[in-house]
């Protein structure tokens, strides 16, 4: 005969129970709780009034921005520039299509039960960049060409980060495998590549790509500035990615390699079917960490005269037509970055949960 199950003690459950346990358990904690509550209330009020209550949202010009609150009107008035840079107004629908497709590809990834969401993701990684490559610069299928020097704002930030992330991961994987190769020449080349690129600051890479590289290229061969920056970012990022992936590869037990070999799987199948899926799953936090860091590092393209979202905002907050709107500008940039980085972070947690097969030993 087994003992009957009993309900848990009453004071431990519910809101009251939680508060008693976590906020008011001792005199010391009661004092801390009250002090913290006071601080929150005194700072939340002014913050709320600056952001919302006394802020200006509508109007036509700087003159409408009165009072003590934030001048969000400024952001609204310049939003077009912050998002598209100097991209011609009449052609902005092309960029809008890309934003739409981006949402179509990645929003389903956050919805657990979305049918065939995997295929939306695959589209995001293959079809999307291809369409973007045709649509955004134009110049074919009767689309009017838009020079990359006119791209800017959020759109440019996303292009830089997207291409960097998409290209750096496969190159990084290849480099990581190469660094663990038995073949000394391949291993040596990968080690040199990784150690050189990883030891150089991104600013230097961008500067070299923009100023020095054209000097070394033969006459007649010339890439646009943006293309050079993209190549620089990708190579630099892939060196980091390689080390993250290598960490995962090293965590795979020798037994996995042996079992795969014993079954007759050759190097590529062993790597592709057994080792990499496990290694990459292990290092999702590290990979996403690198992605987020790259996403924010793209702001450095400012140094070579590309106007990403930060550059676009920075160039307008000094506009004498507006009173001091520095804070509003930077808060807006920070918020945009936060949205995307938080999204990546949530997605990675989502992915980790999904790929967890309960094998933690």
């Amino acid at each position: 005969m087994s003992l009957p199950s009993e309900l848990p003690p009453r004071q431990d459950i519910g809101v009251i129970g939680w508060m008693r346990k976590n906020l008011f358990s001792t005199w010391y904690n009661i004092v801390l709780t009250l002090v913290a509550a006071y601080l929150v209330m005194t700072s939340a009020g002014p913050l709320l009034s600056w952001v919302v209550l006394e802020a200006t949202f509508t109007g036509d010009s700087a003159a409408d921005c009165g009072g003590e609150g934030a001048c969000w009107l400024f952001i609204g008035q310049r939003l077009n520039f912050f998002i598209y840079g100097f991209y011609p107004d009449a052609l902005q629908w092309r960029v809008d299509i890309m934003f739409g497709l981006l949402a179509v590809a990645f929003v389903p990834q956050f919805i657990e039960r979305f049918p065939r969401r995997k295929w939306f993701g695959v589209f995001g990684l293959t079809g999307l960049p291809l369409i973007g490559y045709i649509l955004i610069p134009g110049g074919w299928f009767g689309l009017e060409e838009v020079q990359s020097s006119r791209w800017g704002g959020l759109m440019l930030t996303l292009i830089l980060a997207y291409v960097g992330i998409l290209a750096a991961l496969p190159i990084g994987i290849v480099l990581a495998l190469g660094r663990r190769s038995d073949m000394p020449i391949i291993r040596g080349m990968c080690v040199v590549f990784i150690e050189v690129w990883r030891a150089v600051p991104l600013i230097t890479v961008l500067f070299m790509a923009s100023v020095m590289l054209p000097l070394f290229l033969p006459d007649g061969v010339n890439f646009e500035k943006l293309m050079r920056a993209l190549i620089g970012i990708t190579l630099w990022q892939s060196a980091y990615m390689a080390e993250v992936v290598r960490g995962g590869l090293q965590a795979i037990p020798k037994g996995q390699y042996e079992a795969a070999s014993a079954l007759g799987l050759g190097y590529w199948r062993k790597t592709g079917l057994v080792v990499l899926p496990q290694a990459l799953t292990l290092v999702i936090p590290g990979i996403v960490n690198t992605f987020i860091s790259l996403f924010k590092d793209t702001t450095l393209v400012l140094i070579i005269g590309l106007f990403d979202i930060l550059g676009a905002v920075q160039s307008t907050i000094t506009d004498p037509a507006w009173r001091n709107v520095t804070t509003e500008g930077y808060v807006f940039v920070a918020f945009c970055f936060w949205i995307f980085c938080f999204g990546m972070s949530r997605y990675s947690q989502n992915l980790e949960r999904k790929l967890d097969t309960g094998h933690k030993s």
């Binding site: 079992a259 070999s261 014993a262 007759g264 097969t357």
Partner: protein
């Protein structure tokens, strides 16, 4: 290390003629004067062995005697440096093609199972047939279910290895190896990492397999299993084959002093 596991008669257990091989006079493994070194350490010192098709061999010996290294040389998970190993008329050399040919025909079961944790049980079983043997998917699935049935866990097919007990994982590992329809099965201490109550379920599967005529080489300390199943028992110590005899003779009348000492230690408990 006792005989509690293997009271059954192997011929009685196995009824289904599922194995591919029959007992013939054909030599399927030939090891001649095989040496191996780890750095300067001489692990295997001139081993000679001929295994006939369908023969069941048990290798025992103290730890560090080189018995695991020996069977790992047979599918080239370890390289030998001198001598010759022929498996099913293919010599093991640096030639990757020949190694792949041999590995297709030689299944292996490890002490720590080494199942692929990111794949389900069924996917574990289908992986090599699909990618190495290029079997059509439907056929691979059918074969996998057939063998999972044989190791008595068809109901776990869609689970991940991490959700199974040790004994179940090892039975899946056996099924995974069998799905390649190998001619030879190597077992490297298959029950050493298991809790006592799980050893029997794995040994039962191995006994059944032995009854089906599979060529088996098994490194184990399960002397009961050796007595019931083995055609010959090998005792290894310090990198050499000290004694090689049929089980009756090996257990009742060992010739070498080292064998006697080992058997005394292992059978006393």
């Amino acid at each position: 290390m006792t005989e509690h596991n293997t009271a059954q008669n192997p011929e009685g257990v196995c009824t289904a003629p599922v194995g591919l091989t029959k007992r013939t006079d054909k030599t399927i493994i030939r090891v001649a004067d095989m040496h191996k070194w780890y750095g300067n350490f001489h692990v295997l010192k001139g081993l000679n062995l001929e295994v006939k098709e369908g023969e069941r061999i048990v290798i025992c010996g103290p730890s560090g005697s080189g018995k695991s290294t020996f069977i790992r040389c047979i599918n080239r998970l370890e390289e030998h440096q001198r001598g010759q190993i022929m498996v099913d008329d293919v010599e093991l050399t640096d030639d990757v093609k020949q190694i792949d040919t041999v590995r297709k025909e030689v299944g292996m079961v490890f002490q720590h199972f080494n199942l692929f944790p990111h794949l389900t049980v069924l996917e574990n079983c289908c992986l090599a047939p699909l990618w190495v043997r290029k079997v059509p998917k439907r056929e691979a699935l059918a074969t996998a279910m057939e063998y999972l049935d044989r190791v008595k866990i068809p109901e776990q097919a869609d689970k991940y290895p991490g959700q199974l007990s040790g004994g179940q994982q090892q039975r899946v590992a056996i099924a995974r190896a069998l799905c390649m329809k190998p001619k030879i099965m190597l077992f490297d201490e298959p029950t050493s990492a298991l809790d006592p109550e799980m050893i029997k379920e794995v040994l039962d599967v191995m006994i059944e397999l032995a009854g089906s005529g599979m060529t088996m080489i098994c490194v184990t300390h399960e002397m009961g299993f050796a007595k019931t199943v083995a055609d010959r028992v090998i005792f290894m110590d310090q990198g050499e084959i000290v004694e090689l005899a049929p089980p009756e003779e090996f257990f009742s009348n060992p010739k070498e002093a080292r064998t006697k000492q080992f058997l005394n230690q292992i059978l006393q408990h």
